[in-house]
């Protein structure tokens, strides 16, 4: 048909040829209308696009419409029907291309949605892991804090305990000291108490302790010594030296012996009252250490004495 048309185009204007041309045109060997040209192009484009795979039904409909238009063009090229069919065919082709593009976009969207869900899931998992890690860290932290608090509480309890003990000890000491002071106060009538370099020196008047020339303790002395012994027990001590002293009258050997016997008697009584014998030493010093003159009865009375030298516990 195209060949004939070209032939017709290239001819001169002889009456015969004009007749022949009109005959050919009359037979349908015509130039296709623009609608059909557009329809062919649109269909070719649609076939190249995603419609072939994603909208085959629509593409087929477009194909049928184009065939119909072609058939109409074949039989009646210049008819209005051909132009309409071609017009419709072009729209069908464009529509099928649009449906193909729509499906393609929807697929892409579905894929993106899946990707989104996947990313979100991963993110959630990550966040969960992070949360777990943070929780574990916090738990460790609070364990440490709790352990620290417990240690502090223990230390506080220990300190409080120690304080209570100290208080008790202090009280006990104060009590003991009080007792000793009281004992010493009651001893005042029969002796004195002094702090000296060699220790605490308790001096007991011999006249109160013993009868003349005897070394048995008088009953009053016993009860006084009991108080002294109790006070010393409460206080605690390292060592006690008990010294017996006499005045210078009489034979020195007898004096030495008597002074020792008297010191021993005091020791025996203190031990009987509960003091440790191994910590107590009794010595007889006779008249060798007078504290007053032996020329007057008062001086001699002062020289007749027993001294307890207490080395305190420290």
């Amino acid at each position: 048909m195209k060949k004939l048309a070209r032939f017709a185009d290239g001819t001169g204007s002889s009456p015969l040829l004009v007749l022949g041309l009109s005959f050919l045109v009359g037979c349908g060997a015509a130039i296709p209308p623009p609608e059909l040209v557009a329809a062919r192009q649109a269909y070719a484009d649609a076939e190249k696009g995603p419609a072939k795979e994603l909208a085959p039904a629509q593409l087929d409909t477009a194909h049928q419409a184009l065939e119909e238009a072609e058939a109409s063009f074949e039989s009646d090229p210049e008819s209005e029907e051909t132009r309409v069919l071609a017009y419709v065919a072009e729209r069908r082709a464009l529509s099928s291309a649009a449906v193909g593009a729509t499906e393609k976009a929807r697929k892409r969207r579905a894929h993106l949605d899946e990707e989104y869900t996947e990313i979100e899931r991963k993110r959630a998992t990550m966040t969960k892991e992070e949360l777990a890690a943070t929780r574990a860290r916090l738990a460790q932290e609070s364990d440490r804090v709790r352990a620290g608090q417990e240690a502090i509480a223990q230390r506080d309890a220990a300190l409080a305990q120690k304080e209570v003990e100290l208080e008790k000890e202090k009280k006990a000491r104060a009590e003991a000291e009080g007792k000793l002071t009281a004992a010493i106060a009651s001893l005042a009538e029969m002796g004195s108490i002094k702090e000296e370099a060699r220790g605490m020196v308790i001096t007991l008047n011999g006249a109160v302790l013993f009868a003349t020339g005897k070394y048995e303790l008088l009953p009053i002395a016993k009860s006084k010594l009991d108080e002294v012994a109790d006070a010393l027990k409460g206080q605690g001590f390292k060592k006690i030296v008990i010294e017996g002293h006499t005045d210078s009258r009489g034979v020195a050997r007898d004096n030495d012996k008597l002074s020792l016997q008297r010191a021993e008697a005091v020791k025996a009584h203190l031990v009987a009252r509960g003091l440790d014998a191994s910590l107590i030493e009794a010595v007889g010093l006779g008249s060798t250490r007078p504290v007053a003159t032996n020329d007057t009865p008062e001086g001699r009375a002062n020289n007749r004495r027993v001294e307890l030298i207490v080395t305190p516990q420290k």
């Binding site: 069908r92 464009l94 529509s95 729509t102 499906e103 976009a105």
Partner: protein
């Protein structure tokens, strides 16, 4: 061949009918075309310029067809209505394509936002 008077008359009447457009008023085609236009409108054809153009063509063709019907040109009107229907269908297809592409674009943006959120 001689034609009877009756036959002549009936032939003449037939020719007259053909000359006047011959066919009946294309009510069915009109209804179909109008329905297609409404479908395209509901389908969001006004959101895409391409679809808008096709929708306008469909409406123009319907208007043309109505004019032709008024003139008694029913056959031409039917043709115009077939064209209008195909235009409206194309408008709908294009608006769906536009919508699907926009949704895909939105899905992509959503992912990008998520990625940015993850970074911060």
């Amino acid at each position: 061949m001689r034609m009877s008077f009756e036959r002549l008359v009936s032939w003449g009447a037939f020719s007259m009918v053909v000359a006047c457009g011959g066919a009946a008023v294309p009510n069915k085609e009109l209804a179909t075309a109008q329905a297609s236009v409404r479908a395209a409108e509901v389908g969001g054809a006004d959101k895409s310029p391409q679809a808008q153009l096709r929708l306008k063509q469909a409406r123009d063709k319907i208007a043309e067809a109505e004019k032709l019907i008024a003139e008694g040109e029913n056959e031409s009107a039917a043709r115009a209505l077939r064209c209008a229907e195909s235009d409206a269908e194309l408008a709908l297809a294009l608006s769906r394509e536009h919508e699907a592409k926009e949704e895909a674009e939105e899905a992509l943006k959503k992912i990008q936002r998520l990625m940015e959120d993850s970074k911060s």
